[in-house]
Amino acid sequence: MLTMIAKRMAMAIPSLIGVVVVTFFLTRALPGDPAAYFAGPAATPAAIEQVRVKLGLDRPLVEQFGRYVIDLAHGNLGDSLTTGQPVLTELRTRLPASAELTLLGLLVSILIAVPLGIVAATRPNSLIDHACRVVSTAGVSLPVFFTGLILVYVFYYLLGWAPAPLGRLDVFYDTPPQVTGFYLIDSLLARQPEVFVASLKQLILPALTLGIFSLAPIARMTRAAMLAVLSSDFVRAARASGLSPFTVIVSYAFRNAMLPVITTLGMVFSFLLGANVLVEKVFAWPGIGSYAVEALLASDFAPVQGFVLTMAVMYVALNLLIDVLYGLIDPRVRLEA
């Protein structure tokens, strides 16, 4: 088991190297003068020169890369022009907001898509099966920001059920004391049920938006995987042994069908990380996505670089986690000599 994890981690290293190299070049590939970008639109030529020297942009490329890597190793992602804060600090503060949202969205998605896929597979050509197919095709076509806006329009403007899309918590409430950065968890830990409810209310619409967005691939894959597994030999043999339908479908069929679904989750995460940025804009969510977007609009480049890097690293880490999870479930992967 441990060897498998170690092997997977080793395989992730080239990806990380690639990520670092690409983000390096992205910032040096700026048309015009990179120093001018980092100095900001309001900088004087003297200031630009200062920035150039400070960031080592006048040195040979190889040396620049070396400095870049060393900086990264020390956690130095540069400073934000607009706030003057180190990018790393801001990213760290804002990450829980994005994480809470994305994880909740994924949870919503799984809770709807997986049962939908299972039922659709066990009752082919039924109403649910067709509904599943429609959901899958439509879900893939909806732009995520559009879904968000429609939800806001219907549930906030028309029905008044949801609160205004103004961030994580209504100004009326104080943020709960920081433990994990997840408001839902922190408010419960601090025994502040009103804060819990309030943050949940703010979370519903954006999480739902993300959930709807990732419904389609998960439902589609669950259905396909279940269909394939349900017609396999061992499921037939399990039925012949008279095991209860629940055991057959869940312990035998679904556990095997889960495997391709889990690998799909990796792809879904890639989409979610991108969709996150859009959803944060719609709902004014103070996460790292909106951080990057604001920085972009202000031509503040260091945060954007830090954002891309962080997202990529998170993605690599996530894929690693998924690989490990896969290995936990599938002994064939775990025990290959």
Binding site: F234, R236, A238, S241, G242, P245, R255, D330, P331
Partner: protein
């Protein structure tokens, strides 16, 4: 003998919906297995032997439908049973082992747990004791070091071991009838013999009836007391083993025997059964599905076959071979 048979299949007909038409896989199949008796269902690939088994077990493909017939197990008609009734009976009274043991086992579940699942479900074994009993079952089917093997996964075991595990699962709840679908295909010859011995031994110990499904007539001859010969979804002959080999009456049976390596004196005499299976999607299938390749075909063969009755030697043929001892294939003109 008027004892109630363990399983009595009467007039079973099965159809499959496919893209290219409806396949009439089984037509009016009838046979019975006595308590504790071992019979064999024999026929070439595509004759419908496995379909019969699947229909009886209620695990037909989604495209398959039972269009007629009954399968009486005790007092219960398996084909008309509710899913709940079936779930009670399957595994407990009626069990099945499959052709490819590796794929018939759950690949990501330790074999001990798979046995335990059945024990808990049917064997009235409390969950706590099930792992122990599973290990005992593994020992009973001849797996060495059963305690360690119980934690193993199917991919870590050989084909023969997987087959033993399947037997353990099938026999865990001590059923009264076992259907063995080509249990030795894919195993080497030595393992084949061992597995067959194991099944026979356990069957005797449990007083269990067995239906062997095989294309190997010689194997059927060695292991069963009665042979049911199938061709293209029909039962063509049904007789006690010795009787069948001594006096095969149906032309197809005779051809099958001639095609069996044991029966031929030399390689030169080894004949193949002439012709091929008819396309079962045809709307114009003749009543006797062998007639188009039968060397003994007569005009009467266009009539619906005589109803198979009795428990002795059943023949579904208008022009069966005369009752004499033969040891060569028929010589009539094709």
């Amino acid at each position: 003998m008027t004892a109630v048979p363990a399983l009595s299949v009467e007039g079973l007909s099965v159809e499959f919906r496919t893209r290219s038409g409806t396949v009439r896989a089984l037509d009016n199949v009838s046979f019975a297995v006595g308590k504790g008796e071992t019979i064999a269902l024999v026929g070439e690939s595509g004759s419908g032997k496995s379909v019969t088994a699947y229909a009886v077990m209620g695990i037909l493909d989604r495209a398959g439908k039972v269009t007629a017939g009954r399968a009486m197990l005790g007092g219960l008609d398996l084909l008309a049973a509710t899913p709940r009734q079936l779930a009670e009976v399957r595994g407990r009274e009626l069990a099945m082992i499959f052709q490819n043991p590796r794929t018939a086992l759950n690949p990501i579940r330790p074999v001990g747990r798979q046995i335990a699942d059945v024990l808990v479900r049917h064997g009235n074994v409390p969950r706590r004791e099930a792992p122990e009993r599973a290990i005992e079952m593994l020992r009973a089917v001849g797996i060495t070091d059963p305690a360690r093997r119980a934690k193993a996964y199917p991919f870590e075991m050989s084909g023969g071991m997987c087959q033993r595990v399947m037997i353990a699962i099938a026999l865990a709840a001590k059923p009264s009838l076992l259907i063995a679908d080509e249990p030795t295909t894919g195993l080497d010859v030595t393992t084949q013999a061992v597995i067959m011995d194991l099944v026979a031994e356990l069957a005797e110990k449990l007083g269990m009836a067995t239906i062997f499904i095989t294309h190997d007539l010689a194997l059927a001859g060695q292991r069963s007391s009665r042979i049911v010969v199938m061709h293209a979804g029909h039962v063509v002959e049904n007789a006690p083993t010795r009787e069948l080999f001594a006096h095969p009456r149906h032309p197809y049976t005779a051809e099958l025997i001639a095609a069996t390596p044991d029966a031929a004196a030399s390689l030169d005499e080894l004949a193949s059964v002439p012709g091929a299976l008819p396309d079962l999607r045809r709307a114009d299938l003749p009543p006797c599905r062998y007639s188009e390749r039968c060397p003994r075909k007569i005009d009467a063969c266009a009539q619906p076959l005589p109803q198979a009755t009795g428990s002795g030697h059943i023949i579904a043929c208008w022009n069966p071979l005369p009752l004499r001892v033969i040891d060569r294939p028929t010589e009539s003109a094709a």
